[in-house]
């Protein structure tokens, strides 16, 4: 696999306030993104995710560090020609219609008229906005802006797509649709750089992640490598037994009507619990083994950071 994005030792400090006070946002970030993967860039609010993206895309200038896209310096037009970007909370020219806006973006890539005429309706269809083609962007909802933002990011058929919180502001159906679009892009061989703090989305679609806390990458790697497959405990919901019957076997979690939920920390104890419920003529309603989740890892990292 070839490296499409390489960030080495990136530092960025902002000066804030009337009497400028320095705030170091990025403190020596290094990582790389390989071709064809969905790379999740995670971090709590204010960790420096958007600042990293802005440095990569030339919106701000890092104090120190190197950013290479497809082996080219990140500010070179050759690098930018192969990149698409959906900003966080996108806002575009509200006096343009969706089709006019995409036509304007296509103009910045010198796309020929015939290509534009084929591509713009196709992209509008892809993001589910074909009916809003002639609607001014000022009349767009937050979710619709997110969708047109994705369409403009794909106007040049980029090989590397940067998405900053792409699923924010979308309803559950919209999120599912957008996740599907991202997976379609991956199938088409594109590399996706996904910035988010919504862990379920990242866990569902990302191949590799980097966790950013306080301006430093604390963990980076394949999801499978970072999260242990080992069962941490098993959550059992049962009825027909009292908490007192389970002493020494399970740890109570909650009680609702006749159902109780317990945690069992040993697989051998799970078998014994099942036998006990069977003997006491009780019922097991659910039995869910819990492995480590990205959320567990994330919370642990944030605490460490």
């Amino acid at each position: 696999m070839s490296t499409v994005l390489r960030i080495t030792n990136l530092y960025k400090t902002f000066k804030m306030g009337f009497i400028p006070k320095k705030r170091e946002v990025l403190k020596g970030i290094s990582f790389s993104v390989e071709a064809g993967e969905i790379f999740g860039y995670l971090g709590p609010n204010g960790a420096g995710k958007t600042t990293t993206l802005k440095c990569v895309l030339g919106l701000i200038f890092p104090d120190q560090g190197l950013v290479e896209i497809f082996g080219h310096p990140h500010l070179s037009l050759r690098a930018k020609e192969r990149v698409g970007y959906l900003p966080e909370h996108p806002y575009f020219y509200d006096y343009l219609t969706a089709a006019e806006f995409l036509d304007f973006c296509a103009g910045l890539f010198h796309l020929k008229k015939a290509i534009k005429e084929e591509k713009i309706p196709r992209l509008l269809r892809l993001v589910g906005l074909e009916r809003a083609a002639n609607l001014q962007l000022r009349k767009f909802s937050r979710g619709m802006l997110q969708r047109i933002g994705l369409a403009q990011a794909l106007i040049n058929d980029p090989e590397l797509v940067f998405l900053d919180e792409p699923l924010g502001g979308l309803d559950p159906i919209g999120r599912k649709e957008l996740r599907d679009v991202i997976l379609q892009l991956k199938d088409a061989g594109k590399t996706i750089f996904l910035c988010s703090h919504i862990l379920q989305d990242i866990e569902m679609i990302c191949d590799r992640v980097a966790i950013l806390v306080g301006g430093r990458v604390l963990s980076e790697g394949k999801l499978g490598d970072l999260i242990s497959e080992k069962i941490l405990y098993t959550e059992v919901t049962l009825s027909g037994l009292a908490f007192s019957d389970l002493t020494g076997l399970a740890q109570p979690v909650s009680f609702h009507r006749d159902r109780i939920m317990v945690k069992v920390f040993d697989e051998e104890k799970v078998d014994r619990l099942v036998d006990l419920v069977h003997d006491k003529k009780g019922r097991i309603h659910s039995l869910v083994p819990r492995t480590e989740t990205l959320e567990d890892l994330f919370v642990e990292m944030v605490k460490q950071g």
Partner: protein
């Protein structure tokens, strides 16, 4: 090509701005009003119409250039529309030059429309199409182009209200720059004289573009004066644009 795309988009933005139409409406009213003013005046009525008409085109053109120009770049940064743009394969200077030409195109269309109304009003009075008036309007337009560059320069680092104040101050200073010569004559301190001389070189002499009196009164002006003024306008505009580009190139879009 990229500059053209940005310029056309800026033109679309400007012509969909209500402020432009408001100013155009008042400019048209002022030009038409000049006829009424002429009726109330003792003396050469045609000259009054021409004077007031040209002054109106000038004043409202300046307001258009400043009020729209100062918001152009600031709005892009404030509303973050610039994010999607700068991440595309365009140089920052292409963005700024595109914005500049977009507003120049808007001003060209507006000045043409105002001039048309003005020429019709003059025609109704004299029954002659006085194309020589276009010469005065051409130099008003050159001044507007220069002010557009100034408005964009301030817009690169300041809010629209402050930028408008700066730009209008620039306009006023530019029209009173002859004051520097008077000041020079009365100043004895060598250091102060040097400072005033430096100021008079850096600050513009916008009176160089004012040929209204000469055109209205039919006075002869040597062609080299026109040529010098046009060149001065172009060079000064380029200088301001370069300054704006230098500032814009280093800006962080936070």
């Amino acid at each position: 090509m990229k500059i053209k795309a940005i310029a056309l988009n800026t033109f679309k933005e400007a012509i969909r701005d209500r402020v432009l139409y408001l100013l155009f409406f008042f400019a048209a009213v002022a030009v038409i009003f000049s006829r009424l003013l002429a009726i109330l005046t003792v003396g050469d009525r045609v000259k009054i119409i021409k004077d007031v008409g040209l002054a109106s085109i000038n004043l409202f053109g300046v307001l258009m250039a400043v009020l729209i120009g100062t918001g152009l770049v600031y709005k892009e940064i404030d509303k973050k529309t610039i994010y999607a743009l700068i991440s595309k394969p365009i140089h920052r200077h292409e963005f700024l030059v595109g914005k500049f030409f977009g507003l120049v195109l808007t001003l060209f269309v507006m000045t043409t429309l105002m001039s048309l109304i003005f020429l019709i009003i003059v025609f109704l009075h004299t029954f002659k199409i006085e194309l020589n008036l276009l010469l005065a309007i051409l130099f008003i337009f050159i001044e507007l182009v220069l002010l557009t560059a100034v408005a964009i320069l301030f817009s690169c680092f300041s809010t629209p209200i402050l930028s408008s104040l700066f730009s209008l101050s620039f306009y006023l200073i530019g029209h009173f720059s002859w004051g520097f010569q008077t000041l020079l004559q009365r100043t004895k301190s060598a250091a102060l004289r040097l400072f005033i001389q430096a100021l008079s070189i850096v600050l513009p002499d916008l009176e160089s573009f004012n040929f209204k009196t000469e055109v209205v009164h039919g006075l002869t002006v040597l062609p080299r004066f026109y040529l010098f003024s046009a060149l001065y306008g172009i060079v000064y505009t380029l200088f301001i644009l370069m300054l704006a580009i230098l500032i814009f190139k280093k800006r962080d879009f936070v």
